[in-house]
Symmetry: C2
Subunit: 320 residues, 2 copies
């Protein structure tokens, strides 16, 4: 069974003097916002700075002045943005960023990036860029075009891993696998000691985890099935420094690194990306909203021929 792990993502900063996302909005509001894109809230954790919702398709994080929602599968995330605007007014939004990864099965999606930004720009004028070549992994980024300027301290890191090793895929698709097994497999204790954790094991496959510590967050989403494996990491802690551990665990044939405002991207990747990987894409762009975005895709060159993959004609493997 295939599942589209690739995420769409929205980050909305609000005018904090007008609206406190943590105090002024109920869980029912967030639940409805999530439902609008055809996902559901499964559980949540919170601390004094942040509320983290685990979703049927990925995650929602709410801070006082900002929220971040990532959704995978066949969700239509622009619906959720539209709901936010309709309920609270577009004037509450200080800055919006919408990001979308290319999909494994884009023909099964309810919209393409072009459709999404046609809808978004009905409310919010903006600019759009693509990071990475059309014929390999790439991310589209749309951002509001206003006088907002990002702080250089506002850093975000993303890792997307593809074609994880057979060992990793076998481990993560074992029947009866428990959340605790996966936490240990991912070495979460080593990656994020002391973080508060909320996780979920999906049936028959799949795992999501939200982790928070004060204003810090990490979210990991795993689609482990061997033919379309995908593991995503997103955090405001420096994931590039964790690349050696993450690669040792997942051993992917290919992975992307994407960062916002990491000025040492080139130096950090030189140290942390093992040199058996080579770069398929290297993109750097300073956005007009002040964010410096770096994107790199790496692949592990193949030395050996493998057999072709059987396509299940009768089954459902070619559809989500």
């Amino acid at each position: 069974m295939f599942f589209e792990g690739s995420e769409k993502k929205v980050e909305i900063l609000v005018h904090h003097e007008q609206l406190s996302l943590l105090n002024d909005l109920s869980d029912d509001f967030w639940s409805e916002l999530v439902n609008r894109c055809h996902a559901q809230i499964l559980s949540s954790i919170r601390n004094e700075h942040c509320k983290a919702f685990l979703l049927s398709e990925s995650s929602l994080f709410v801070w006082d002045d900002c929220f971040l929602i990532l959704t995978c599968g066949e969700t239509n995330l622009v619906n959720s943005v539209e709901y936010f605007i309709q309920q609270l007014g577009v004037d509450k939004i200080k800055h919006l960023t919408y990001q979308r990864k290319n999909e494994y099965f884009s023909h099964a999606q309810p919209s393409c990036f072009g459709d999404d930004i046609k809808r978004l720009t009905q409310y919010i004028p903006g600019k759009a860029l693509r990071f990475g070549a059309m014929d390999s992994h790439h991310n589209f980024v749309f951002h509001q075009d206003n006088d907002f300027q990002a702080s250089i301290d506002d850093k975000t890191y993303e890792i997307f891993a593809y074609q994880i090793s057979e060992d990793a895929s076998n481990h993560l698709t074992r029947p009866g696998l428990q959340a605790n097994d996966i936490r240990q497999f991912l070495r979460l204790e080593q990656l994020i000691p002391d973080f508060q954790i909320d996780d979920f094991v999906f049936q028959p496959y799949g795992y999501s985890v939200n982790a928070i510590l004060a204003k810090k967050y990490l979210t990991i989403h795993i689609t482990p099935q061997s033919d379309s494996s995908y593991v995503s990491f997103e955090s405001n802690i420096n994931l590039i420094k964790l690349v050696p551990i993450i690669l040792a665990v997942l051993q992917p044939s290919s992975f992307d690194l994407l960062s916002y405002n990491e000025t040492e991207f080139e130096a950090l990747t030189a140290i942390n990306v093992p040199n058996n990987y080579v770069s398929q894409s290297l993109v750097q762009q300073k956005l007009t909203n002040g964010f410096l975005v770096n994107f790199a895709n790496y692949i592990l060159p193949k030395q050996q021929f493998i057999q072709a993959t059987e396509f299940d004609i009768a089954g459902e493997n070619h559809e989500l």
Copy 2:
């Protein structure tokens, strides 16, 4: 303006004692067969063995016992197969192979490979395989499951080039470009001396050429626009030996080689693929119909960061 260059391809061998494709079927038949998939015949050339039709979307070659049709864009090639079967009966078919490359814009396609083979298997039982990883360039191959066994002399070679150099893209998108300029640019005289040639320059961009010599054929289709460039070669002459010339001309960031029944694939690629390219995929499979299929994707590792690509929000760039 984006155009989907990636092709679908059907090869049908007929029971020659029952049906001569060259003698028993008129040009009107082929014209209608082509129309069914939403393409048109533009021109044709012929010799005593082969008739080659240049199409609005790629090419059709007809030999006495076999025909081969490749179509790009948003064509629905299974319609043409269905027309052939309805007009002549499925019993005339000795063997059918259907191949489909992953697309740049699969969400804009009228069908996915799964849809296609659901339709084909209503008439023809078969098997399907994928060559190449889901998250990088790949080709699906469906073939009829009957007692047909391919001759080892029945060899086919395909090259797909992506992200051709800026120089090549600029040259091939020059206003007022003539067919003869493109023939010279592609070094056709060196690649296929003495072949009879039929070619077409599309507006605003694009070029197709069919070339035949006795039973030999070569077809090249160029989508030159820089952001979604794609150049395909298909032939029964050994294209792997021509890789050095083709790469020198196009300088692609990535390319695929695919062959049927080339038993020296590994040795030939070792000699002819420059070692600044690395393998992203290497797949080898002997099909039950006797064809040995090899697939390899190569990329040119990047050393330098480039800027992100602007996405035209208002325009039509994100749709075909």
